[in-house]
Amino acid sequence: MTADASRGDALTSTGPGTGRAGAGLGRAGVTSVDRQSNAPVADRGLAVAAAGPLGVSGIDRREASDPRADGVGPAGPSGVAPRRRLVDRRWFRIAGGALLPLVLLVAWQLASTSGAVPVSMLPSPEMVWTAGVDLAERGLLGLYIAISTQRVFIGFAVGAALGLVVGAVVGLSKLGDILLSPTLGAIRAVPSLAWVPLLILWLKIGEESKVVLIAIGAFFPVYTIVAAALRHVDRQLLEAGRAFGLRGVRLLSVVQLPAAVPSVVSALRLALAQSWLFLVAAELIASSMGLGFLLVDSGNNGRIDRIFLAIILLAVLGKLTDAVVGLFERWAVRKWA
């Protein structure tokens, strides 16, 4: 059936009352076609044709519970019965993700044991393992991991909290934006390592200097993304909120913050990655404990097996914490978007 013919059907079926006005005004523009998207199935030709310039949301919206939804797209994915492909299966994702690390491990083993590369340049996996066990037996491995993780968590918490607050101020208030954003933009432009000498002078080599550096690292992604997300909350929703009597804190908690939640969570994820980055910067330069210290110390002593150990631990820890936040992100997006 062509779109025109089906449209005719739809209009005659609207009964004597509304039919004529529909015919008269219905051609006025795309908007009126969109408005009729809930009309009988026969209208779908036009609805689909209109969905192009209007974006996909029109189709998405009708997918779930509209009994007519299965008629919506002649060839669209929504019309196809969902058959889970291999790449969508959980075990395949996990196995696929583990494949490359295993290949690398085997290649590493072969390269280091074949004698092609001297062990002073490339220790064997076994040597790295032994170095790990040795450190663990002396109680240092657990200590270093614990202290590094603690620094990351404290620095991340402080930086992200400040980033949320300042991002909210800049994103919600014009005045806050005018007063703060140029300065913060300039501070963000300072490379992280430039802070280290200053922080050591001010705060000595204790925990504070490291936590502050990590907090700086966590602050900026959160601040930038949260400010932008709050500034760009859908104006129509804001207006609807105001029209129904929401002001100030209530508008913030009912409309603005929930609208920004998905962005906030991805900002937190970015900030956490940044925190590990800044942790190593801090520990490389001034520390007596932690994974960064392990790196420098091993470098000075030529313990390449321990360098490998530290790098692998950083990779694993970073990935693990990121995965936890990733789960939280998926939950938040499902709940708030």
């Binding site: 079926s13 009964g15 004597p16 509304t18 519970s65 129509q236 009597g245 609208a259």
Partner: protein
């Protein structure tokens, strides 16, 4: 006149537009959209606003609700000027504008007047969802319902406020013909139960005839070098009491006159059908 004193509860308030004009600034200077709008909507009246797309119907409604301000002229509700986002009115937007992270029921609850006790609010929301036929979708998210269902949710949200003035911008635009008729009847039921002043923007002449006490047609002068900006071109008092017979001859004649006013050919004259004139034009 439309609303007899007995059918008007204390809740409904009159709305008055005096010399209202609205121009939007553009790069090429101010572009007038509305001008010289003078209109008194009586307490408890249902007034339909008809007009071609883009003539300023939504703008007029937004001004009545305090979502926009006129460039000149004044709008009052019960004699006092409309405040920004005036609490005496509730608006059903042209788009559903639902909060995507809230369920249908929670979105409707947003319309409840502040300070509604929890239990009473929940019961009211449930009743409204029942009325608009969405009881089983109460726990769905806006993205899980159809466009027409979203629009009904938005209507329920506006009704939840039990406002003195109800502003509805094409509330039935996205509905199929049958649901549309059902929702029209629903609006009349609600209006009879809790009288309120209703300003209803619509594209649909028959809908206006079915629901309204009075219809105003908004439009610009056809003349190309006339003053730009839309104003009230025609005011029609709809005869009879609601619910009206959808097929009556009287209404058919009014329909013809309104379609003429909107610049739409009725395709009758060519076949020698004269438009009879038994109903005097307003004002009598």
């Amino acid at each position: 006149m439309p609303a007899t004193p007995t059918s008007t509860s204390a809740a409904a308030l009159p709305v008055e537009f005096r010399g209202v004009a609205r121009a939007f600034p553009t790069a090429a200077g101010a572009r007038p959209v509305l001008r010289d709008v003078d209109l008194v909507v009586e307490a408890g009246e249902i007034l339909a606003i008809l007009g071609p797309s883009g003539c300023g119907k939504s703008t007029l409604l937004r001004i009545a609700g305090g979502l926009d301000r006129p460039t000149s002229g004044r709008v009052t509700i019960a004699g006092s000027p409309v405040a920004d986002y005036d609490a005496r009115s509730a608006i059903g937007f042209q788009e559903p504008r639902l909060l995507p992270w809230r369920t249908v029921a929670q979105n409707v609850a947003l319309g409840l007047p502040r300070g509604t006790p929890r239990a009473a609010g929940r019961a009211h929301v449930a009743r409204l969802l029942e009325l608009v036929g969405l009881a089983e979708f109460a726990e769905h998210r806006p993205r899980e319902i159809s466009g027409g269902m979203a629009q009904r949710t938005s209507l329920a949200r506006a009704l939840a406020r039990s406002p003195h003035v109800l502003l509805l911008d094409e509330p039935f635009g996205a509905l199929d013909a049958l649901t549309r008729l059902r929702m029209q009847d629903l609006l009349l039921e609600v209006h009879a139960a809790e009288p309120t002043t209703v300003l209803l923007v619509t594209h649909d002449v028959d809908e206006a005839l079915q629901l309204a006490d009075r219809i105003v047609v908004l439009g610009a002068e056809a003349d190309t070098d006339a003053t730009p900006g839309a104003s009230i071109r025609q005011t029609v008092v709809v005869p009879g009491t609601r619910p009206r017979d959808r097929g009556s001859a009287e209404l058919a004649e009014l329909r013809g006159r309104l379609l003429d006013g909107l610049g739409i050919d009725r395709h009758g004259a060519a076949r020698g059908i004269q438009s009879t004139s038994t109903i005097p034009a307003f004002p009598y």
